[in-house]
Amino acid sequence: MRGPIITLIVVVLLGGILLLVNLARTPADSNQAATSSVAPVAAPAQAPAAAPPKAADPKAADAPAAPFPGQAKYTGRTEGNNAAIAITVRDNKVSAYLCDGKAIEGWYKGSVTDGKVDAKGKGTNQLTGSLTDGKLSGTVSAEGRSWSYAAAPVSAPAGLYRAKTATGTTGWVKDSNGQVTGLTNDKGAVKPAPPLDPNSAQAIEGGD
């Protein structure tokens, strides 16, 4: 009568291993971001004052690639004009969103190291990039596909917006022309986004 106990142990072991794999593969930045999102009221209020005008990390200053400003937002399109992308950087932390307005979307979190953006999203989704003459370009992957992209610096109200509601998480990319691209993701089900309401949606900065 040891069969059920062995079954139980195998199930616990498999669950434990998968959990450990997840913990090991989760970038530390997403944990920091998750911690900061626990207190969303405090974060935006402190952030503008705390953000230094230049990158605080001394490594960035010595980096061969162009250093990022302390706080910056970029919007652009992927190759072939397929999807909109918004990348926000604050204190070398990166939050980004890719969205084609139809079916493909993805959130990315990561950091800037030596002037290079490296952010990860769901599964194998990844975002890389670096600055050339103030413009950000690189590659982004989602749904097992990968595109190159180019994005230019923008200022509010352009940028990246997010709203979390009962019906899921919605992301919007608003470019410098005012054009908005968004999608709602409800536990993996992607559907059209409601119109962007800047009063209710959160303006995302790097690390949010």
């Binding site: 199930v11 498999l14 998968l18 959990l19 997840n22 989704n125 009962a166 993996g188 992607v190």
Partner: protein, 204 residues
Amino acid sequence: MSTPPFQPPDPYPTQQSPAPAQSVGTPHTPDPKAVSILLPLAAGCVVALLLGVYGRLHEPTGYAVNLIGFSSGAYAKAWLATLAALLGVVQLFSARIMYGKAAAPAWVSTLHRWSGRIAVLLTVPVMVHCLFALGFEASTPRVLVHSLLGCLFYGAFVSKMLSLTRPGLPGWMVPVLGGVLFTALIGVWLTSAVWLFDVQGLHS
């Protein structure tokens, strides 16, 4: 009226045992039978509660490592859950034969054991992804029911595995736990995979 009057009802032989068990236990010592019933149930309750508390307290990451390599993590989960639900139906029918009036062939219990093991193992990656990436949620009735049934499923599973190793349990205990497991599994599947197939379409 040629039937012998005291012939025990064949499928439920152990249901007659409560009377002698009560006469054995004295009022001041814990009934060993009650203990052997309550221990697996208590262990199951603890597991269900711990899963729910973890799912609620752990800040969802929004994503998790996808070991399966499907087109999307949601569909990998949906298909794993669908396979598990199908094996759950195998569980139901093989249990029906095992608890039927006729003696069940040996392969039926082997089928029942292995379909159950595979079914639970298929659900484990789904459960880990749910807990790690999404967490226990109550924002809509669907996700609340799904979260509760998901916790209940693993609680019932632990209770059933522990009950199977304990001799002298009432005959209804394992079937009842099996019924709870099947109900929870189908409920979890209806509120996730079937919902996803309905909203997003039936594809891989």
